[in-house]
Every structure is written in C-alpha cells, then in structure tokens.
Assembly symmetry: C2
Homo-oligomer: 212 residues x 2
C-alpha cells in the first residue's frame, strides 16, 4: 500500500464520485477504500469541503487550455468541447464547479480563455460578457444535460417519459408531450452543446463587427 498523499486521496475520491455519485461520497467510505482510518484523511485535506474543492480543481487540471490559433472561435469551440466531455466524464463535477471557489488549475484555465478573447481583438465589453456567456454555457448546459441524462435518479428515461405520456389527458400539455416524444424518438439532434455555443460565438463576432 503506497503512502497516503493528497493526490492519492483526491484520485480515489474522484473515482468514487464517478462510480457512486458525489452524494454517496463520505469520508469513512473513502478511507475504507484507501485502507486507512477515517481520521487519517485529515492529515492531508483540511476537511471534506476543501477536499471537494481539490477534486474539482483536479478535473480542471485535466483540461487542455485553449490554444491561440488564427480563428478564435475555432479555438473556443475546441477547448469547450473537450471541457464539456471532461465534465460529462465526471458527472458530479459540473455541479460542484458552479458552487465552489476556483483553485489554481481553474484559475489558469480562466486566464487562458480570457487571453483568447483578448487576442481575438474583441472590445472590452464583449470580452467581459463573452467570457461569462461562454463559461456559463459550458457549466450550465452540462449541469442541465446531466440531470436529464440520468432521468434524475438512475431511472431509465424512456420509462419515466413513457409513464408521463400515458398519464396525460387528451390534448393537455400537448407541446410538452411533443417535446418528450422528440427526445424518445432518439433521432440525432446533433451537437446541441455546440449549437448553442455557436449562437453565442457568432453573436459575439457579429456584435464586435458593428458599432458598440
């Protein structure tokens, strides 16, 4: 058994949260997995809250910061798609990301994103708003997407939706029923994340081209 370290604790906690959900993560169960006593963890993390901060930052550290390329929109599309994928791979991370103080890795990512917008030649007000729009889209969209993805408690979406549709009075909530059917039809709705991101990026581009 290798020595207990902060990194080992964070890695195991991330694996646990990926597998069992972050709400099932307790210090006792985590310590059991690591083969140590519960209180031993506190030699390496200040408390559970700070540990969760560290977990989020560890996920951020996996992200490739955006590269500076000729086409700033393409750079942001690429990095956002990667970040989106990372947040889907760690389904608890988006919810925590939105709630926690940023750590070093996240701060570095923020800076890199702002740099792209700055070097793209956007006006300062559009950098400010665009940065918020992009990051809020990344995290906000992913949070929502995940909450739909698991039907909300590990239940099968098709079953839940089917029950919902069966329970409807004729014509009542007709538009919602259509929407649910569109979900169930499972035809490819394309890259929705990218679709909205493009609305934002193209809107920023257009706004920057006109008088502000």
């Amino acid at each position: 058994m290798p020595a207990l370290t902060r990194d080992r604790i964070l890695a195991e906690a991330i694996a646990f949260a990926d597998a069992e959900g972050v709400e099932a993560l307790s210090m006792r169960k985590l310590s059991e997995r690591l083969g140590v006593g519960a209180m031993s963890l506190y030699r390496h993390v200040a408390n559970k809250d700070e540990m969760l901060d560290g977990m989020v930052d560890a996920v951020c550290a996996e992200l490739q910061p955006p590269r500076i390329v000729d086409d700033w929109r393409e750079a942001i599309r690429t990095t956002s798609a990667e970040a989106h994928a990372a947040l889907l791979a760690h389904p608890w991370a988006a919810g925590e990301w939105s709630r926690r103080r940023p750590g070093p890795a996240r701060v570095a990512y923020m800076d890199a994103l702002l740099r792209v917008l700055t070097e793209a030649g956007l006006r300062p007000d559009l950098i400010y708003r665009g940065y918020h729009a992009i990051t809020m889209h990344l995290v906000g969209f992913t949070i929502q997407e995940l909450s739909y993805r698991n039907g909300l408690a590990g239940q099968d979406l098709a079953v839940v939706a089917g029950q919902f549709l069966d329970g409807l009075d004729d014509g009542h909530l007709r538009h919602l029923a259509d929407h649910v059917r569109a979900h169930l039809d499972g035809e490819d709705h394309g890259d929705e994340f990218g679709f909205v991101l493009d609305l934002i990026l193209d809107g920023l581009h257009r706004a920057n081209s006109t008088a502000g």
Copy 2:
C-alpha cells in the same frame, strides 16, 4: 397556531432556505420553527427529498407563464426576466431546479414555453434545440451568477478579489486580473442575462429564416 399542512411546511421551508441557505435546512430546525415535533412533518411530506421537490415546484408556481403575443422573442424575454428574478429571489432554487424531477407547476411552465416557440412558427428542430437553449440559459446562467454573487461563502467579493489581485506575480494571469478588475470597477455592465438570451433568440430567429 394554524393546523400543519403541506403548504405551510413548504412556505416555511422556502422562507428558511431563503434566509439561511438550503444546506442549513434540516427537518428538525424546520419543525422547530413551525412549533411541532420533527416527525410531524412526515405526515405531510414523504421525506426531505420530496419536500425539496415541492419547494422548487412552489417557486415555479409563482412564475408567470409566457403570454402569447405577436413578438415571440419579446414574450420569451419577458417571461425569462421574471423567472430569472424569481430564481435570484430564492437563491437556492436554481441549484435544486437543475437537480430535481419537475413537478406540476414546472411542467406547466415548460409546456407554455414550448407553445410560444411552436406558435412562433419555428421549425421543429429549432423548437427542440431552442427550448433547451433557453431553459439551460435561464437556470445555468442564474446558478453561475449566484455563485459569484456571494463570493462563495458569504464573503465580500471585493475583499476576496482584492486578496487575489495582491497575490499575483507581475504579469502572471494578466487577463484574469483585468477581468477581476472589471468586476470590481462596478461600472454598469448592463443586463448580461438578457444579452446572452438575445444572442440565443436572435440566433434562432436567423436560423429559422434560412434553409435548414
């Protein structure tokens, strides 16, 4: 003391969460406020989780569903601004909204929103994606906004940001430092929520006008 009812429990729980934060809400403290024993609550709510579902739906019930007017974008701007204000008034609600199964009031709101998009004459694929984009923006943006608003633990944003800026090496994280200063300058950055919403709405409008 009036009789204990589900509505009275939900109203008190909402007031408590507004005042003390949803993480401080416990069944015991809530029952104390209501002047009853802890277990009495369980005559009217199935468990804490179901109670939180009810709280979110009670907030949804406050929302004005969008009205059908000539200008669909204006209708969505109006209802979104109202919903945004309601989510800011109950700062815990957006986070729970994104995590919970919708209740009757939320379902009704969803249907009304889809109806506006449908009667606006949007193509089915744009209704599908536009609906997601709008609701995700509403909830996702508000979640993020709130997490910044309270500096993340009731601390003063100016203090936290000031410490951050003081701790920076010269030139390191320069773009982020600029951004933080823009936050602190406090000059009016306008309606950011509406700005991004307009990017989405105008993008949908434009996409609907061109061949799909």
